[in-house]
């Protein structure tokens, strides 16, 4: 039944633009053929997918009403998909009406849409009311059915799974935003999460940004996440960042894991980004991780993005991790060359060497190559193929071919 509803919604995405003759409609379609390997079962799989995104504007004279939709349908050619009656599946990512200034300074979003509060985020079938400029404050009220996509590509979650929340924000101090929020999630009618959160961002003189956020889990009475950061550009081409982050695992109240003792995780991070010229940019970062009980780890990352000639872009990065859990070091390299104004070729390598505490050394590699070609303003083509080499495969190919249309 749910699959039927999803496919009907996707059909509606196709039909609705045709009905909105007077309105301005923009749509993007991506028709894809994918071939890949299920590393768990070892089975090769092939699939057709149709992604469709559209937005309709100018539905009224003031252009304050818009409709947005995005979904996909997939058809799997795998034998086990046919056996389990899961050849044809659909997923509706969002489909909502956005009505600005329903009354003065009040906006409404209704339908399936993504919501993001300092206390939590969700995809909901419901509504968001955004009240702007109540003097120095703004208010967000939202709620609806909590939409979850499960691992088997279907939508899960019943009508009793809900997400609701409220946020109060102010921009009263120049270049400073503060928002406090409350969110509540139910699981089969029982309260699974109740969280309050606060976020602050402020831009100070001399290119300094300070930001922070905190989440407090009301049911387990713990601070589940805390982040404080400062970003500073002492030179026009140099940006430095320092962050402190801590988290404390929390679980749904309906899970048995919510009653167990857990450790706090802490991370201190420094980052630097430097633009040598417009065409050569460097970055590096270091994080010290503390898992409590005397266990810790270090994480390093460095990279360069270069454009040695106008048509060629190269990216290379190296990262290394050692300490609790094991060691990992990896290199990523990719490049893109524009052959003509309409055609480009790309290629890349991911290489990782790692050793878990209880594993032998292992190396995994991914080589990929691809290209894009734009036929005209409307139609373009993209192809990507990759080969994976790891402990399970000496060779394992997968990829995607897409025809994209914008109209």
């Amino acid at each position: 039944m749910r699959r039927t509803c999803l496919l009907l919604s996707l059909a509606l995405l196709l039909v609705l633009p045709l009905a909105a003759e007077a309105a301005d409609m923009r749509a993007t379609s991506s028709t894809q053929f994918l071939w890949f390997n299920d590393s768990l079962s070892g089975q090769d799989d092939e699939m057709f997918a149709e992604y469709l995104k559209m937005s309709i504007t100018k539905l009224n004279q003031e252009n304050t009403i818009t409709i947005h939709g995005y979904g996909r349908g997939t058809y799997s050619l795998a034998d086990d998909a046919a056996e389990s009656d899961e050849e044809l599946l659909g997923r509706l990512y969002y489909f909502y009406l956005d009505y600005r200034d329903v009354v003065q300074n009040v906006d409404l979003v209704a339908g399936r849409h993504f919501v993001n509060l300092p206390a939590g985020s969700a995809l909901i079938d419901g509504a968001t009311v955004n009240i702007r400029n109540i003097g120095p404050i703004g208010l967000r009220l939202l709620g609806g059915r909590n939409v979850l996509f499960s691992g088997d590509r279907n939508e899960i979650g019943g009508s009793d799974d809900s997400f609701m929340g409220a946020g109060i924000s102010t921009d009263v101090i120049k270049l400073t935003h503060i928002e406090a929020a409350y969110a509540r999630k139910t699981d089969d009618s029982d309260v699974a999460r109740e969280t309050v959160g606060i976020t602050i961002t402020t831009y100070l003189p001399k290119r300094i940004a300070v930001y922070g956020e905190a989440k407090y889990d009301l049911l387990s009475e713990t601070t589940s996440e805390l982040l404080a950061g400062i970003k500073f550009s002492p030179l026009e081409r140099l940006t430095l960042t320092g962050e402190y982050y801590q988290s404390y695992p929390t679980f749904d109240a309906t899970s048995i894991y919510s009653v167990f003792a857990v450790n706090q995780y802490q991370e201190s991070l420094i980052k630097a980004e430097y633009a040598l010229t417009e065409d050569y940019k460097l970055f590096m970062s270091y994080a010290a991780e503390d898992f409590d009980d005397g266990e810790d780890a270090n994480r390093y990352e460095a990279g360069i993005a270069a454009r040695p000639i106008a048509d060629l872009a190269l990216n290379v990065s190296y990262d290394r991790r050692n300490g609790y859990g094991g060691e990992l070091s990896g290199i990523r390299f990719n490049g893109r060359y524009s052959v003509t104004s309409k055609t480009a070729v790309s290629a890349g390598i991911d290489w990782d060497d790692f050793r878990r505490e209880t594993f032998e050394d292992e190396t995994v590699k991914k080589y990929w190559v691809g290209g894009t070609h734009r036929f005209n303003e409307t139609i373009s083509l993209m192809v990507r193929a990759e080969d994976n080499v790891n402990v399970k495969y000496d060779q394992q190919y997968q990829g995607v071919a897409t025809v994209n249309a914008e109209f």
């Binding site: 992604y51 995005y70 029982d190 695992p249």
Partner: protein
Amino acid sequence: MKKQVTVAGLAVVGFLIIAFQLVAAKTSHIDYRDMKIAECTACHQGDGISPNHGALWVREHRAFAVKAGANCADCHDQSFCLDCHTGGGIEPDLTRSLSRRGEYMPKSHRSDWISIHALNRLDNLQSCYRCHDATFCFDCHSRQKSNTMNIKSHVKTFVGQDFIWNSEHSREARRNLQACQSCHPEGDVCLQCHSAKQAVRVNPHPKGWDGSKLKSASGERTCRVCH
């Protein structure tokens, strides 16, 4: 007293008027959505604003994206967020690979992600749960034999000895309880020792435990598993 109330009232009204002006002056970025990031940065740097959308922006964006009226929507549709967070694929991007289900993976899921995620997930476990719920992990882990994952407390040490159970499992669980949940979603293995109903009844609760709010929130259904 009356004078003080009047002054205070006028101060509040004045504050609200100034505040209203400041709020109303917030800049929309819709007109700049087709500009290159370098052009945005050049303008913002000149105004003394710290730049963003740098090489490490994927890791940084959360704190800025969460705020009400964030400028993200001035340039990006929701599909831009959901293509990473819920496995969509309408934005053509050659640098993104496919998962074992043919879904697009974010760029952070590099090389053979299934192999290296056991290490990478340790770097801030919360980041996994921003896109995946616990059932996502169970979908694969339920089909894996525990000895293929070589978890320290699940490894046999010597012939005749079972596991490094007492010394390791409690520390592993406290640091990384989500990993236990990914294979044992109902905690059945844990309850063999930690239930108040049976066996050795080892108390799993943290020090100073007060579960009254969890109890009422779950309609006592979580508590009744053990009590």
